[in-house]
Subunit: 250 residues, 2 copies
DNA sequence: CGAAGTTTTGAGGACCTTCAAAAGTTGTGG
DNA sequence: CCACAACTTTTGAAGGTCCTCAAAACTTCG
């Protein structure tokens, strides 16, 4: 199977895990014509205010979505890993209100809007699955707003690490306790709305309190229970429930 | 026309302004069986973690969506006014990851999920319109994350006021410069992620700088240009473009 | 091995918080 | 229509969190 087909089927597997999708729809989905593009670290997949034509499915690497202020302030609003369809919303909102950039060399499958919208129109289950995917996105944004708005520095970082571990585990890239977080502390600062210096000090505190360990870019969660308590992490917002609930009432 | 029909048609008008919807779909939409409920100030329309059966279309009043921390911290993630379908996302995500509450006496039209999903399935244009509506939601969440993450206290409040004025104007409740903001400073604090005291001082600063005026709950934007500059307010994220773009390529 | 980037440290100060109380506003019942 | 209670806004003061600037230590990589 080609890398593109592999990425498509991985995304399809994610959607299917939430709600069943008929064979005809999956066949049509797999038949889409896409191209694969590789971006270097810190290259933009999409610039802010850009008028796009296709959306990005991550085949490999780590990317973030961000917004910037005129004074240079940057806020990362989400991270995305393998199997994530990053900007499905741009199918309907053609002018990007945020940028997307790579934090590692990243393989991106570009899927034309037309194809997505066509599928959504002709296969209601797919349309609903796409919709659901953007809803999970929105739920994560809400949690991030809470994160930067109402948690202390330490708590914010703890929360971000837990979310990352959870999502990496969901795609089999981590056992839930140890993972590679390939971002600098400056990037982390942009994600949690703090200064790099304070991120550094908060990390030191998390380490010296025996909650996490770090060696280079690999993070190990040492005391998960305490970390969860500190961050007040409740995975509800990641909506892992999809499948069960949606099968109940079609 | 009954109050319920009125609210439904107002929402439909909003959707139609973004993209055309065929007559059959609008007829089916208007035929939905809904009930109208009134909530007192500070009553929850939906509690956090509640398992809901219907979504809320606002007929009158102001409501907010919020998340809370175990330590009591509360973060308002959005405000909603007349004509807003507050929790369309709960059609697919049955367990609410956030609460919804009234800030004034509020009239709420309850629309059963089944009806919405049925319409979305049989009328692709409506399905797409619902999807789009939740995408605008998500865009606003992103901007709020930027707001609390990267703006100073004054800037945050300035931004919130401008967003509010914009949205009130969009539904004809304000001329763009003067409007009623029926929330306490404590609520405002929860929306911008600050303490009530600092909200008070930031408001004083905005007033004494000649940017706004307030009398009770009515806010007047005195120097819009300066306020926009201060807040770095760009209305792109509110995605007013809907209509034009979506007509181009169906 | 040197250059560039990243993490760490130090120090001073700004922003924002907490606590507490006073002043002002709103609503209700007599 | 006033009186009183409850709430909201405003003020003061002290202190913590977090920021900025700046430089040193450590990594990474060509």
């Amino acid at each position: 199977m080609s890398p593109i087909k592999l990425a498509l089927s991985r995304y399809l597997a994610k959607l299917t895990a939430r709600a069943p999708i008929p064979a005809a729809a999956t066949t049509a989905f797999m038949a889409m014509q896409c191209e694969s593009v590789v971006f270097d670290t810190y290259r933009d997949l999409v610039r802010e205010d850009e008028h796009t034509q296709s959306c990005c499915l991550i085949g490999a690497g780590l990317v973030s979505r961000y917004k910037t202020l005129r004074n240079g302030g940057r806020q990362i609003v989400s991270f995305h890993i393998v199997g994530d369809m990053v900007d499905l919303q741009s199918c309907l909102m053609r002018v990007a209100d945020h940028g997307i950039r790579a934090h590692t060399p990243a393989t991106v499958i570009r899927i034309p809007f037309g194809d997505i919208l066509h599928l959504a129109e002709h296969y209601p289950e797919l349309g609903r699955a796409f919709w659901f995917d953007t809803l999970v996105d929105a739920a994560i944004f809400r949690e991030w707003t809470l994160n930067v708005g109402r948690r202390t520095g330490r708590e914010r970082i703890a929360h971000l690490l837990l979310e990352f571990a959870y999502r990496m585990k969901a795609v089999g890239l981590c056992d839930g306790i140890e993972f590679v977080l390939p971002v600098t502390q400056a990037d982390l600062a942009d994600a949690v709305g703090m200064s790099p210096v304070h991120v550094n000090r908060s990390l030191q505190w998390l380490r010296s309190s025996g909650l996490i360990r770090t060696q280079g870019k690999v993070v190990t969660i040492v005391d998960r229970a305490e970390l969860v308590a500190l961050a007040d992490f409740q995975e509800t917002y990641l909506h892992p429930e999809g499948r069960r609930r949606m099968e109940v009432d079609a």
